[in-house]
Amino acid sequence: MAERVFITGMGMITAIGDTVAANLHSLRQQQSGLGYTRYLDTIYREVLPVAEVKHSDEALKEMAGVHGLPQYTRTTLLGLIAMQEALQQAGINDPQQEPTGFINASTVGGMCDTERVYFDLIDPAKDGTFLQYIDTLDCADSTQRIADRMGLTGYITTISTACSSSANAIMYGARLVKQGLLRRVVCGGTEALTGFTLNGFNSLKNIDRQPCRPFDQQRNGLNLGEGAAYLMLESETLARENGSTILAELSGYCNSNEAFHPTAPSPEGDGAFTAMQQALAMSGRSIADVQYVNVHGTATLNNDVSEGKALQRLFGRQVPPFSSTKPFTGHALAAAGAIEAIYSILAIRQGIVFPNLNFSEQMEELEIVPETRLLEQQPVCTVISNSFGFGGNNASLVISKYEG
């Protein structure tokens, strides 16, 4: 019998808060993090809303405790801040006492900083301190800097499957624990806003000029966000040995592929359906046990049709309350899966269902509408969290209340 995997710590920073508690507060206040960028150099500065973390790189360096040290990109800084909280909350002062793995997720690595110096890097006539950013071009850079700073020495790696990256990082970490390669692993992702991704999604005509409206008939695309989130996963044996505080159980997961199109999901939501169905089967829970679905809900035309149809196919007439929290945080790409996994844990621990902001009109393709109210004192024991990405990469996680 494989080990059960428990979540024993979490840390995050997003546009709606620098900590898990601050995020919860903003969710309860229904306070969106969307606005116009202060830090990104783009012609869309006052055109495309983004959910930006409300601190300059300098301020983030202070928060991360690396003031005066070069080469920490915004991607790394966000990750460090979230990681420090995750380790602290897990009660881990010395990660070296028990080999601790780190499975990170990133879509474009340190692009936030390298895109500013790229044309100097390729110009032989230019020389200067910008050369220190050469190592930050890839996705491994932030992972290794965070690992080195925090003393994480177990399995160290980085996953990139677009918008499902950190859900896959959580899944891979859980499997390493289940098969006994590690007893403790911290998983999640980090993402900073970049001109590269903003222009990428904009070139796909996927960005709404208004705050995004998931599952609304008038929705017109996503808003990008940034942030980082990490979850500490421990084997049941270790959690009991150490008397760890168990926040929730990761009871099921599934990675499936659409095999349909490079950037669009299948219209009937085949991949989303399979991911949710198999994750739920693995968790040993039934559809009646699911009290909340934190949907991917990017508010792109395609995603919401396909994900909505998948929900209808899986749950039939009894679709549980569901909402997209993207109007709060924007779509933080590689960090999104981990951010939303933490929100799912908060839903269970606080007994709440988060509202789907900016919804007013039911989609003509669907029979269901998202939950628009903040529901308190709900019995939430099992949550499905969805992350779907480019390349048809779909991932669903099932998170359950810890019942002993």
Partner: protein, 335 residues
């Protein structure tokens, strides 16, 4: 077997096949070089294995489609963020090759991409081995990386490459700071059970991140012991030596642990890149199946073993990510 090729450019380019045999012409036009190389290597592997649609697709890449990333960065600047063609952005996504293989094979199962320098391929392999343990019947597991002139220049600015041009066939005669660059794509069909056409068995895999001084002598011994082996049980050592004097001390420790064992270097064939370990695994698997080393590729090696049961691979990427892999002749230990 082809003759040994060499280059004086300090950058070993992948030899590209005639893609038309693998990819329809209308698809080819839209695909960038990395996607063509990656997809073709995957399709060649699937053809060779006869496995049909794979049970999972898992890959590693250090840089993904570098040309697309470079192109989109330039497009943003050139067109001042307006009316951009999304294709390079889509293809620059690290999982683009995986997505394309999945569509081509109609493979709707597990799909993952690792992007961590010298661990990219190795974590793809580890993930695949976990999948096989969990009951996935077979996996398509691979790695791909490309190198551009532009990126080669960028990395030269932090001293990754030799400043003097060397003939790749004589790489090991030129110890100095830096090495020569490379690229390539390799795919493997993996299954939990040996079949008649199996190349080799992956009997062990261990990864070391920024190990302590003194590595790898003790780690090598411990690794062998863990597999119930002594140095004499290893018939051939594949070494990632690359004539980079900054990190040569790691590879030099192989000499003391394996005195008298034949060591085959491979970086003069593929150059240095994040997923060069996949090339070495491919080479080792071929040698085990053929029970013969392609000797014309190794003029620097004096004597070759006659029979080969086990190959040990030791490789690292610029001193940070170190990998030990044990390959055995398929069926040698009951599969």
């Amino acid at each position: 077997m082809q003759p040994l090729e060499h280059s004086n450019s300090n950058l070993l380019k992948a030899r590209e096949p005639d893609y038309k045999a693998y990819i329809p012409a209308n698809s080819l036009r839209r695909m960038s070089r990395m996607l063509k190389i990656g997809l073709t290597a995957a399709l060649k592997c699937l053809q060779d294995s006869g496995m049909g649609a794979p049970g999972a697709i898992v890959t590693g890449t250090g840089k993904g489609s570098l040309q697309d990333t470079e192109r989109f960065l330039k497009d943003i600047r050139q067109y001042n963020e307006r009316a951009l063609n999304p294709t390079p952005f889509i293809q620059s996504t690290y999982n683009a090759v995986n997505g394309m293989i999945a569509v081509q094979q109609q493979c709707t199962t597990y799909n993952n991409t690792f992007v961590h320098r010298g661990f990219s391929f190795e974590h793809a392999l580890l993930d695949s081995m976990l999948l096989l343990q969990e009951g996935t019947p077979h996996t398509l597991t691979g790695a791909f990386d490309e190198m551009t002139e532009e990126h080669c220049f960028i990395k030269s600015r932090i001293g990754l490459w030799k400043t003097e041009k060397v003939n790749s066939a004589q790489l090991y005669d030129h110890p100095s700071p830096g090495t020569i660059a490379g690229e390539g794509a390799v795919f493997f069909a993996l299954s939990a059970d040996a079949a008649a056409q199996s190349y080799a068995r992956i009997a062990g895999l261990q990864l070391f991140y920024k190990p302590q001084p003194g590595f790898p002598a003790a780690a090598l011994s411990a690794f062998l012991q863990q597999h119930g082996l002594t140095p004499q049980d290893i018939d051939l050592v594949l070494t990632g030596r690359n004539a980079d004097s900054n990190y040569a001390h790691f590879y030099q420790q192989l000499d003391a642990v394996f005195p008298g064992t034949c060591q085959l270097p491979f970086k003069h064939l593929c150059g240095e890149y994040e997923t060069a370990g996949a090339f070495a695994a491919w080479l080792g698997a071929h040698i085990l199946k053929a029970q013969q080393v392609p000797q014309q590729w190794f003029p620097m090696v004096q004597a070759f073993p006659r029979r080969m049961e086990r190959i040990l691979l030791y490789n690292h990427f610029f001193g940070e990510q170190h990998v030990l892999m044990l390959l055995e002749r398929a069926g040698a230990c009951g599969g």
